[in-house]
């Protein structure tokens, strides 16, 4: 493991993995309680349109992906609130629209130098020191936001109608959380990829919910599951020479199945 960290890119990936483990765990706690996992899938895929736009106009694809994901996440929230539409419909539309724009942007681009496959499935070789800094800053913002609005986010997730009557700014909180979700997704793309990141938005929280019925231990277990998944997945992928994102997600899924079993045994 010490040998693994002698490589600059592995050290960056490992540190990013630790930060993202905590970020995704906290976000997944609310994703599971709000049943937002499909929104996570939609927002992650919408980042593809942003990546393609970035490579077309020659600016950082992470920046354009962030722009796309935040807009799509909030658009899903807005459209889903309309009387004659549902969140489900909104996801179906924006997900495909952003992907379609992505394909058009790639077609317009005469150069073919962006590692699109890396964005889709993750590429730890691409994680630079700047990326690590960005992950750390935005990750800290996400965690701090969840911390200061924790009780409001918890109440809104529990019963949004009653929360509204009790004076909680429910619409603001919904959009606030969707923005946090979008930011968390984009900073995770280089390590796990657009297609796979949604798994880490669900697994930590879902695994923790199998073994506890209280929120403080649920968040703690969620963080443990995510940290073991990202760091363990990176170590396995390094020594077995496997794709990092896919290894992290497969490893996380195995932990999830183990936790489901543990939860069943515990109830007996």
């Amino acid at each position: 493991m010490i040998e693994m960290l002698e490589f600059e890119f592995m050290k960056n990936a490992f540190l990013a993995g630790i930060v993202l483990g905590v970020v995704l765990a906290v976000v997944s706690f609310f994703v599971v309680l709000r049943r937002y996992s499909f929104i996570g899938v939609g927002v992650a895929h919408s980042a593809f349109g942003g990546v393609a736009l970035g490579s077309l106009i020659g600016i950082s694809p992470t920046l354009t992906a962030l722009f796309f994901a935040v807009i799509v996440a909030n658009a899903i929230g807005y459209v889903g609130r309309q009387e004659r539409l549902s969140t489900d419909t909104a996801i179906g539309i924006f997900f495909a629209l952003a992907m379609a724009l992505g394909v058009i942007f790639i077609g317009l681009s005469d150069k073919y130098n962006t590692d699109l496959f890396g964005y889709l499935f993750g590429n730890i070789l691409a994680i630079t020191g700047t990326d690590l800094l960005l992950v750390s800053i935005l990750g800290a913002v996400v965690i701090f936001s969840c911390y200061i609005f924790f009780k409001e986010l918890l109440f809104t997730a529990f019963d949004s109608e009653v929360a509204l009557v009790s004076g909680m700014p429910v619409v603001f909180l919904d959009h606030f959380f969707l923005t946090i979700l979008a930011v968390s997704i984009v900073i995770s793309i280089k390590i796990v990829g657009i297609v796979l990141v949604s798994a880490l938005l669900v697994i930590p929280g879902a695994a923790a919910s199998q073994v506890t019925v209280r929120y403080v231990p649920m968040i703690a277990i969620s963080i443990a599951v995510a940290l073991i998944s990202t760091t363990g997945g990176l170590i396995i992928s390094y020594y077995a020479d496997l794709a990092s994102g896919a290894t992290i997600v497969t490893f996380a899924s195995l932990i999830f199945f183990f936790m489901v079993g543990a939860g069943k045994l515990r109830k007996r």
Partner: protein
């Protein structure tokens, strides 16, 4: 009783309220008022617009026509802070990772303020409310492990924890056994008598409303009756509200439609 109620200040007033949905009127020309310290029962069949009416009072649904005043203000965030709401079906998930006490604590969040966690004082308030609904010994239990009736008491404790002046209850007896129901109405009457709490209670169960409300409003899209409970069981009003095939299953001193001798007679 009714005269003394009518001297109290009006806390909720609806005047010529119309609400339409998909080209159909759900509520038509509603005139209704609720006074401080009264339990107002709202009766009507399914689809009569009762739940919509509560949401209109809370400002969750904006009427197409007419005016609504909640504590003399337009129903919005400020006026709503004085009201506690118990929806018909709680959207709360059973497996939500909170204890009974955590749920009651949510009721004080609006007074805790941003960036602050509920502290010792808030926890004491929440415990008081749990004592009030007879659920103190369940404080530390997971919310999902409680029975339907117990969960409902927790929701009531949560609504009370925000120290409301008015409770809006949508079908509060759904999923609660008859003993627990009776306890609940006693609790409600105590809160009215001791703390001056008002309540607007919606039910399709006429018997429950007529025996526990100070005044009644019979609603089926329109208001067919708004007054003391003793007159609302008249055959004409019941036919207008519930239709011709109604059989009244309650027999008490107010029952006007049968010739049976009553225990109270």
């Amino acid at each position: 009783m009714e005269e003394t109620i009518m001297e109290k200040p009006v806390i909720v007033e609806l005047s010529d309220v119309w609400v339409g949905y998909d080209g159909k009127w759900v509520l038509k020309s509603i005139f209704l008022d609720c006074r401080a310290g009264e339990i107002l029962g709202i009766v009507g069949p399914n689809g009569a617009g009762k739940s919509t009416l509560l949401k209109v009072i809370l400002g969750l649904i904006r009427p197409d026509r007419g005016t609504v005043a909640l504590f003399g203000k337009k129903p919005g965030r400020e006026a709503r802070l004085e009201a506690g709401y118990l929806p018909q079906i709680s959207h709360a998930e059973r497996a939500f990772p909170v204890t009974a006490l955590d749920v009651v604590l949510m009721g004080v969040y609006n007074r805790t303020g941003l960036f602050r966690r509920p502290g010792l004082k808030e926890k004491e308030t929440a415990m008081e409310m749990l004592v009030c609904v007879n659920m103190a010994e369940h404080a530390g239990k997971p919310f999902g492990s409680l029975s339907g009736g117990q969960q409902q008491r927790i929701h009531i404790a949560r609504a009370l924890a925000s120290k409301p002046k008015l409770l809006l209850l949508d079908e509060p007896s759904t999923g609660v056994d008859s003993v627990a129901q009776e306890d609940f109405y006693v609790l409600l009457a105590n809160l009215r008598d001791e703390k001056g709490l008002s309540a607007i209670m919606v039910s399709h169960d006429i018997g429950v409303i007529t025996s526990h409300a100070d005044r009644v409003a019979c609603i089926n899209i329109e208001v067919h009756y708004h007054g003391g409970p003793e007159l609302c069981l008249s055959p004409e009003i019941m036919e207008k509200v519930f239709g011709k095939d109604l059989k009244i299953m309650v027999h008490d001193s107010r029952c006007a439609t049968c010739n049976k001798r009553h225990i109270n007679d």
